[in-house]
């Protein structure tokens, strides 16, 4: 009797669970669709372009002395670029035919794309892009370190101040973020310019002009200024979650302020620090706008290089090299993130990323 009753109940329960899970799936569907279209597909495209070639070439066919010849010549880039006439000349030369004897049946510029190649990745390792990568790495590392030094004490004070003052301080942190980042960076450019506000103040006091725009310091300042809130917020979140009674227990057991910081607050805030490091490092290393504006285009970071490559004329293969650079950058970021996450606790209670 009971068995039968249970038997009758079980499928209906299971069915209900299935229905809810279907409902959950449906609710999830828009997000899933969104991620596929705007995250998965673009990444696949990056991978595809990184490993495929786009090359322009001259397809040339001619006849001479009753014989047919045809060949393909790379159109080349920049100083090596060939004009159509030069290409014809080269083609004739290749077969030992005098240009005057050749009767061209076909001479066109063609673009070939889609073939597998490792050439793009090889170009990522070119001296200019290596240099940009190194600079990006150094600058974003510096920016992250400076942000941490500023944010950590601030987050601590913030988390320990009264509820009202916490709200006001939070507002002050968030306020600049209501403005577009491009606008904010542009205003920094105005401030640091040779005849900008700072130099005007210097001039007023009879001090010399200081060239600030275009220096690494300006670029790093731009990064710190723009991404500092991303360092403060996760650290603040983790710190405000530290139970007051833990601090009291530390007091009770004989901690002075410094010991409390080293033995309690520091280890307990590691997850927030890791989140902050990642959230500042990742956008800093891939930025192009900040470096462009703060260096007047004089300092080229990897982001700038990718931008200029992608902006290259279609057919030059720039898009593919840009994709390869993006891919390498992405892998570097993933590795960094992974390594940093290893330092945080496995529970990662405070992880924001």
């Amino acid at each position: 009797m009971t068995g039968a009753a249970q038997g009758g109940k079980a499928p209906s329960l299971a069915a209900r669970r299935e229905r809810t899970s279907l409902g959950v799936k449906l609710l999830n569907a828009p997000y899933l669709l969104w991620s596929v279209i705007f995250i998965v597909v673009p990444i696949l495209m990056v991978v595809f372009y990184a490993f495929s070639e786009t090359a322009s070439y001259y397809a040339i066919s001619f006849s001479a002395g009753g014989q047919e010849y045809s060949c393909e010549l790379p159109a080349g880039e920049g100083e090596e670029a060939l004009t159509l006439e030069e290409a014809k000349e080269k083609a004739a030369e290749r077969y030992g035919v005098a240009l005057s004897e050749a009767e061209f049946t076909r001479a066109t510029l063609e673009i070939r794309s889609g073939g597998f190649t490792l050439e793009n990745l090889r170009q990522v390792w070119s001296p200019s892009s290596r240099h940009a990568m190194l600079l990006s790495f150094l600058y974003s590392f510096a920016a992250t370190a400076i942000s941490l030094v500023i944010a950590y004490p601030f987050a601590y004070v913030l988390s320990r101040s009264g509820a009202k003052s916490q709200r006001i301080q939070m507002l002050l942190i968030m306020l600049p973020m209501w403005m577009n980042m491009l606008v904010r960076t542009y205003s920094w450019q105005q401030i640091l310019e040779n005849n900008g506000i700072i130099n005007k103040v210097f001039a007023f006091f009879g001090l010399g002009q200081a060239t600030m725009l275009g220096t690494p310091g300006a670029v790093i300042l731009g990064m710190v200024y723009n991404y500092l809130p991303y360092m403060i917020l996760p650290i603040y979140t983790v710190m405000s979650k530290i139970d007051v009674s833990l601090l009291e227990a530390a007091d009770d057991l004989g901690c002075n302020g410094f010991q409390k910081l080293c033995r309690l607050i520091l280890p307990l805030s590691v997850p927030g620090v890791i989140s902050g490091l990642i959230m500042v490092f990742v956008p800093s290393i891939s930025t192009f706008y900040i470096s462009q504006k703060m260096s007047n285009g004089m300092i080229k970071l990897v982001g700038d290089l990718i931008e200029s490559k992608i902006k290259d004329q279609w057919g030059s293969g720039g898009l593919n090299v840009g994709a390869a650079m993006s891919l390498v950058l992405m892998v570097i970021i993933l590795v960094c993130t992974f390594v940093m996450n290893r330092f945080s606790d496995e529970d990662g209670g405070g992880m924001v990323v």
């Binding site: 139970d243 009674s245 007091d251 009770d252 057991l253 004989g254």
Partner: protein, 377 residues
Amino acid sequence: MERFIELRGISKIYDGEKVLDNIDLDIHDKEFITLLGPSGCGKTTTLRIIAGFVTPDEGNVYFNGQEVSEVPPYKRPVNTVFQRYALFPHLNVFENVAFALRLRKTPKAEVEKRVREMLELVRLESFAKRGIDKLSGGQQQRVAIARALISRPKCLLLDEPLAALDAKLRKDMQVELRRIQRETGITFIFVTHDQEEALSMSDTVVVMANGRIQQIGSPIDIYNEPQNAFVADFIGESNILDGVMLADRRCRFARTNFDCLDAGFAPNEPVDIVIRPEDVDVVPPERGMLRGTVTAVTFKGVHYEIIVDIDGFKWMIQSTDFVAAGENIGLYIEPDAIHVMKKSEFSGMFGDYSTFSDEMDEENAANELPSDGEAEN
């Protein structure tokens, strides 16, 4: 026993509300003293003042006769076991217990030895390498005690330490705490809202309400000789009646005159009369000093809890003999079952059993405590 901690005229005001009002308290060496009271009575504030986390607005605290208001918490010879243990989540059991020693750069071998000793004392020897989040509530509790005891304080302060444990574990921990107190031979100041806990563990119980001490005494004194209606109601079950002292050893309540053992009141002084449910004998109506109708009977295991309506006042009586609801019974009250108290601010606040207060008590308890779930985190 020597006087160890003295509180003199302690008052504390939070947001215009006086949470402690002129507290005087002596705490002796090697004593197990319990601050007992409902939530908001000021017991935890008193404890925190002794620990040094809270500075009183008025009054002084003395340790061995020395004023300590300028002494920070860690320089006082006391350590605290916090309500939700406050164990350090990033350290394992061993390092939590060793914390105070590590701060003082104690040699490794001694740390090892003393932590082992402490873990042995709280019976967690095999858990040294365990993470805090892998412990049950009772085990966390014991780690907290070991951590507080390792710096060999003269006094351990315990703030509702058993509140987050389930009933069975709580009983075990009560025995355990008494054993630890005996073995270490130090003073325990224990804060609880659970009167049963207070009675079964303490040498001295301090009953607090509305920021004032209502009564200080041994558990037996507190139970048998409550000083006012609040204490009588808060500790155990009691029938509290309006009465008049006719003369020494003669009182009147429930429209009946009784012999009693109390004396020293003015003639015809209005008083509160306390009669414990277990001190009333159920007899046939014709032999009863009072007669009434049974309105409810609840089986409680050892005894029946019987609610009797006598002239509209609902008495609670505990009896091992069964009576049926609706039955007419008589009550017989011996002179030593009657306890007479002076009228106080609490007179009339606690009356009969026409409404059960159990639910309210539970609510009070729940308000005072974090939920178990939180404590586990």
